[in-house]
Symmetry: C2
Subunit: 372 residues, 2 copies
């Protein structure tokens, strides 16, 4: 694919071509260290979610800081990480159909591979193909713990599937996937905590049900950047799956944790660098980062520092900035905190890693566009 | 960059891996022919906007059907097209700063290059670098014709800039860029027409002003898929810049043209193929195309054919389908009409071109991610 790298190592931040995806390396490393220390202290495993950054370099940094492995959402994402030496991956998603499962089992020859299921026929299909390839897959049963997305909803199905997995020749029953995606972005602390308390009651009942019906339940995995202290506090989860904590974004910025929960200590490390490219109105400036440079699905980006300036509208290649004090000039560069980090990252080919206002690292967004 | 092609030539549509970006080649070709015939009949030039498709293959098809050249929004986009033999490009945007202008002037050695301006200092900068490289650039003055984005707003500035461009040693004054982006998506026919009538009055006054002050005004360029009959009907515009007409999308689908205007004859040619990957609730299905497979900035995608099914919510890698009649089953494949074609295309690496339910073409999204 065609690509243009918008910076060179050693360059000053303000010389980076725009728009570009910047990482504040100090903040990134601090976020990684803070969560690693928390998990260490709480004696809970951290399996970082690589769907956020899609970066082999960042995944390796997280593993060096103690992460037990990574999560991916797609087989094609996992392929990139396995090709680059990551060897413990959980696909926190359903993988269906001969073509995708064949690729999954190929990966299992080089890496420990886990996958989630919520359908009995899918369990049979996974085992059949794993047997053909003579590999073993770790299988987690996904519970719908309130997100209303994937995941089983009845204890009867749970039991049936656990038995089916346990009996299958090439599957290893790993336990439960119990991630509540919707809860991550509930702004109100009390409501967010309640959502996870509800999830924890469901997970607890399912675990008891499994044990009382002769199944094991080795791991319970879930939790994200918005809720992980609640899952950890439950004493029930064995593994967290946080992803966004490495970067944070404008939407996570709205999530306030009370009780001095650790989320307050994560800092924005991801920015879109943009330049003012038109200024024909005193109170309006147009910048060069629009819908193809950041995602507005969770609201517009925030402008870092220049406090009176607000990003008010996006079109494909432009952003409209409200500039009430007329402080912006043509060529001025601004840092935008994206509304939503994951889909923003997925638009860019390169991370430009900055320290002390200089380009220190240029990392590919290794699994960008890996959709299948 | 890493990439996985989700199909093979000759494969049946239903075997294409998901999610994938599909083109109905018959509809694409028909859209291209219809607008080409219209422009021919109306004796107006068509300079197709390549920001929509970012595809060398589609641009060449449009040029074979009579397009005089292409528009791009970014220098890096134009670089891809020039490298692939397209040699008449207008950048319908401001290009500022030494680095970007240097790249623009490099392109002018191989291709006719035009660019828009709305600032006098930018004119000087363009001329200085064009002179250093000994190339000529065609310069269009961009007017703000109601979009509230880039473009000058006063006749005094217009005159000053036209003189400056005309006097500049390495610039050729090409005329006016008068595109009203906001008007393209006004759903109400009457209001949309009024917006362009307002634009036309402004353009007409500016042209008279230029001519009466001794400047020329060779071309007036603008118009998009939502409004081009109005610009054409004005008799003032010399060139249209339609882009989305090749694909259409759910948002353009909401734009109804009265008076049998030609837009009704464009058909959806762009789809995201997605598969049902979870069905644990009778009235809900989860598909594998979320925020990283299509853009929801202009609303959710529509489901083609399966009429009772509705795409109701997106998360990063999932779509929630409301399935009131419980007709969907695991593995079922659906065609989604994206809410907004341009930013959707920019997420994908490959177009899978389909005819008679078979894969006939696999085209790269050549300028995907070319942001700078």
């Amino acid at each position: 694919m065609n690509t243009v790298i918008p910076a060179k190592i050693g360059m000053s931040t303000r010389d980076v071509d725009t728009p570009a995806l910047l990482i504040d390396l100090d903040n990134l490393e601090r976020n990684i260290s803070v969560l690693a220390a928390y998990c260490d202290e709480q004696k809970i495993d951290l399996r970082v979610h690589a769907k956020t950054h899609k970066s082999v370099d960042i995944a390796k940094l997280q593993i060096r800081h103690g992460a037990v492995g990574i999560c991916c959402q797609k087989v094609s994402e996992a392929e990139v990480f396995v090709q680059n030496g990551i060897n413990d991956i959980l696909i926190t998603n359903q993988v269906l159909g001969e073509h995708k499962i064949n690729r999954l089992t190929c990966l299992a020859k080089k890496s420990k591979m886990g996958v989630c299921v919520d359908d009995p026929a899918n369990v049979e299909e996974l085992n059949r193909i794993a047997a053909e390839q003579d590999v073993h897959l770790t299988i987690l049963i996904e519970l719908d713990v309130g997100g209303g997305r994937c995941g089983i909803r009845s204890k009867q199905t749970l039991n049936l599937m656990a038995k089916k997995i346990t009996k299958a020749s090439h599957l290893v029953f790993g336990g439960l996937q119990a991630y509540h995606g919707g809860a991550q972005h509930i702004y109100d602390y009390r409501l967010r905590r309640q959502a996870i308390e509800h999830a924890v009651r469901k997970v607890s009942a399912c675990k008891r049900w499994l044990l009382s019906h002769g199944s094991s339940c080795r791991s319970i995995t879930g939790g994200g950047t918005g809720t992980y202290p609640f899952e950890t506090g439950s004493g029930l989860y064995t593994e967290l799956q946080c992803g966004s904590y490495v970067f944070m974004d404008a939407d996570y910025g709205k999530i306030h944790m009370e009780d001095k929960q650790i989320i307050n200590t994560f800092e924005n490390s991801l920015f879109v660098l943009t330049a003012v490219m038109s200024k024909t109105n005193a109170k309006r400036a147009i910048c060069d980062a629009g819908l193809k440079a950041h995602s507005i699905d969770s609201g517009p980006p925030l402008v870092r520092e220049a406090r009176s300036v607000e990003y008010v509208a996006s079109s494909d290649e432009h952003g409209v900035l409200h500039d009430p004090e007329n402080i912006l000039r043509l060529g001025d560069k601004l840092l935008l905190i994206p509304g939503h980090c994951d889909p923003t990252v997925n638009m860019h080919n390169w991370y430009i890693g900055i320290r002390k206002n200089r380009v220190e690292q240029i990392w590919p967004v290794s699994a960008r566009g890996m959709l299948t």
